[in-house]
């Protein structure tokens, strides 16, 4: 189990990965809270899981296939009606490429 202690720097990094722009105050508030939660959940390290398969369903269902038959899709105006900004049949976003080198993160 990884060390459940966590630094402000790590929390800042996780916020970046999670695409959450947190303030320094929020980072300071979250750090001890995350640490106490991680310390609590770290107890699963005590369990011997040798040879145990992971589980995600009541039944051992893994892949469910169906015939690939085209059906009607949602109308475009319905799909776009909740978008904050659109341009014709497109979602509109700020410039992605070449804005600055940071965009490639």
């Amino acid at each position: 189990m990884p060390d459940p202690r966590i630094s402000l720097e790590q929390v800042r990094h996780v916020a970046k990965l999670a695409r959450l722009e947190l303030t320094d105050d929020q980072i300071r508030k979250f750090t001890p809270q995350l640490e106490s939660i991680l310390q609590y959940v770290a107890k699963i390290a005590e369990v011997d899981v040798t040879g145990v398969e992971p589980m995600a369903h009541a039944l051992p269902i893994h892949n469910v296939f169906r015939e690939d038959i085209p059906g009607p899709s949602l109308p475009l105006d319905e799909v776009l009606k909740n978008a904050p900004e659109t341009d014709g049949p497109f979602f509109k976003v700020p410039k992605v490429i070449g804005a600055d080198e940071d965009s490639a993160r």
Binding site: I37, K43, A45, V47, A58, F91, S103
Partner: protein
């Protein structure tokens, strides 16, 4: 209070023309007008549409097993009318382009969906305090929480604003509010009810289910909502039994498991202990035999849950990007990454952000095996514990919540304390088995608060579980109690 406040009574009254659906819906809407400013169970109410549908029922143009019955739907279940907000700022104006399978089935059965109920934002929480639209209050004592995350659905029903309601349960979110509000709440087996159109929180744990005053009403709702759905590949193709058939037939030779790990759990309120002990005596008087069982991995249940749920949630919530739907920042941004990060920081509430952070951390490079994968293996062990226990008994009996309704604000300062309220409920989601909460008594005066009893059964045995629950309900008066407010 509604003159006919259960599904069974409402159906009977409408069919015998004692009351019209229009009158019943008017009563419910009047109750909402009168009480909801204080209770805040509903995020949105649709009076015109509800009355129009009631008229159709009265004219015989809408029929079905729920024809004319006013119900409420948790606001994380998509409808093509109104909004589906998940009690989040990020979805405050979201109008779903499609309806959840459960919503469609309820309407096809003739139910009248009065409105959408409040929840902890994105169904993360156990008190309905973490809503962007403010907390819901418990109708038994408005200084207290109704439980959560389906607190709005529970409070709406307990306050007599509808005849039944629908919630979703990821770690106890139907059963715990049912317990805190004196109701029956059922979490079906994972895969029994379609999740199509349920806004995803933790996809391998989420399940939709009913809240009702009686076991029979819960069975009626399950009959309507259960079944395979080609739009949800995790819903199972098993035929749906009739949950009302044989409901009143007691289980002969009933064996109830008492788990020693649950008895050792700390922090159980003494009044909860007393009420559950009395419920056990009631079952014994009905001929049930008690069996000692062991669920050795119980203490790892909450830990596994608070890894699995945030991991899946952080992944599910990645879709809220300020581009396709939902809130977008009005601040100037340099690039699209900043657009994502600002929109998400503004749109998500604090508890949601905290869980996204835990999930992102646990799934980040180098930690996946130690947290998420290991937690899924612990799941297998917890499920095996139950499988072993169920070779000795039909169901396991325990409290639903270790405590009755707590005061608004009491646990919101310490997230971990709030998480520990889920100790008896999360394992059913972890093991993907069904669980039902039933009212089993009240705390002492001055303001009596409901106490809930939980029965857990093997996967896909809802029929038997409901019969076991019915045995208790038929022998006790608790389901007839209503809060003084309503």
């Amino acid at each position: 209070m509604l003159a006919f406040d259960t599904i069974a009574d409402a159906i009977q009254a409408i069919r015998s023309k004692t009351i019209s659906s229009t009158q019943l819906v008017r009563y419910a809407l009047a109750q909402i007008d009168k009480l909801d400013p204080a209770i805040k169970a509903f995020n949105s109410v649709y009076p015109d549409q509800s009355l129009a549908r009631a008229k159709e029922v009265d004219a015989g143009r809408i029929t079905g097993p729920l024809a004319g019955v006013p119900i409420a739907l948790k606001d994380n279940i998509c409808t093509t009318f109104g909004t589906t907000t998940c009690s989040s700022k990020i979805l405050a104006n979201f109008r779903s382009p499609y309806a959840a399978t459960v919503a469609k089935k309820l309407e096809a059965a003739g139910a009248i969906i009065l409105g959408k109920t409040n929840l902890d934002e994105f169904a993360r929480g156990s008190s309905t305090e973490n809503s962007a639209f403010g907390p819901t209050r418990n109708p038994w004592d408005t200084a207290r929480v109704p439980g959560g995350s389906s607190g709005g659905s529970a409070a709406a029903l307990a306050a007599g604003m509808c005849c039944a309601s629908i919630g979703s349960d990821t770690g106890g979110s139907i059963r715990q509010p049912a317990s805190l509000c004196g109701l029956v709440g059922l979490k079906p087996t994972y895969g029994r009810v379609s999740r199509y159109g349920l806004v995803a929180y933790a996809s391998s744990l989420d399940q939709i289910g009913p809240l009702a005053w009686t076991v029979a009403d819960a069975a009626t709702l399950l009959n309507v909502i259960a079944g395979h759905d080609p739009n949800d590949s995790t819903s199972v193709p098993h035929p749906r039994p009739d949950y009302l058939a044989h409901l009143h037939q007691p289980i002969k030779g009933l064996r109830l498991g008492i788990a020693k790990e649950y008895q050792l759990a700390s922090g159980i309120d003494p009044q909860v202990k007393t009420a559950v002990a009395a419920a056990i005596k009631t079952y014994q008087a009905l001929g049930a035999q008690l069996v000692d069982v062991s669920l050795p991995h119980t203490e790892y249940g909450i830990a596994a849950y608070y890894i699995i749920a945030p991991c899946e949630a952080s992944s599910n919530l990645a879709r809220y990007d300020g581009v396709h739907f939902g809130h977008r920042t009005k601040e100037p941004v340099r690039d699209i990454i900043e657009l994502f990060s600002k929109s998400r920081a503004e749109g998500f509430g604090e508890e949601v952000q905290r869980r996204i952070m835990i999930g992102t951390y646990a799934l980040s490079s180098g930690y996946y095996d130690a947290y998420y994968l290991r937690a899924l293996k612990v799941r297998t062990l917890i499920r095996r514990d139950f499988d072993n226990a169920f070779t000795h008994c039909h169901a396991i009996l325990c409290p639903t919540s270790p405590v009755p309704a707590f005061a608004v604000g009491e646990k919101s300062a310490d997230p971990l304390q709030m998480y520990l309220v889920d100790v008896f409920t999360v394992t059913a989601n972890i093991a993907a088995i069904p669980g039902i909460s039933l009212p089993c008594g009240f705390t002492a005066a001055p303001k009596p608060l409901p106490i809930g009893l939980q029965l857990l059964g093997p996967a896909f045995t809802e029929q038997k579980l409901l019969r076991i629950a019915q045995m208790y309900e038929s022998a006790t008066p608790w389901h007839n109690h209503r809060p003084p407010l309503a």
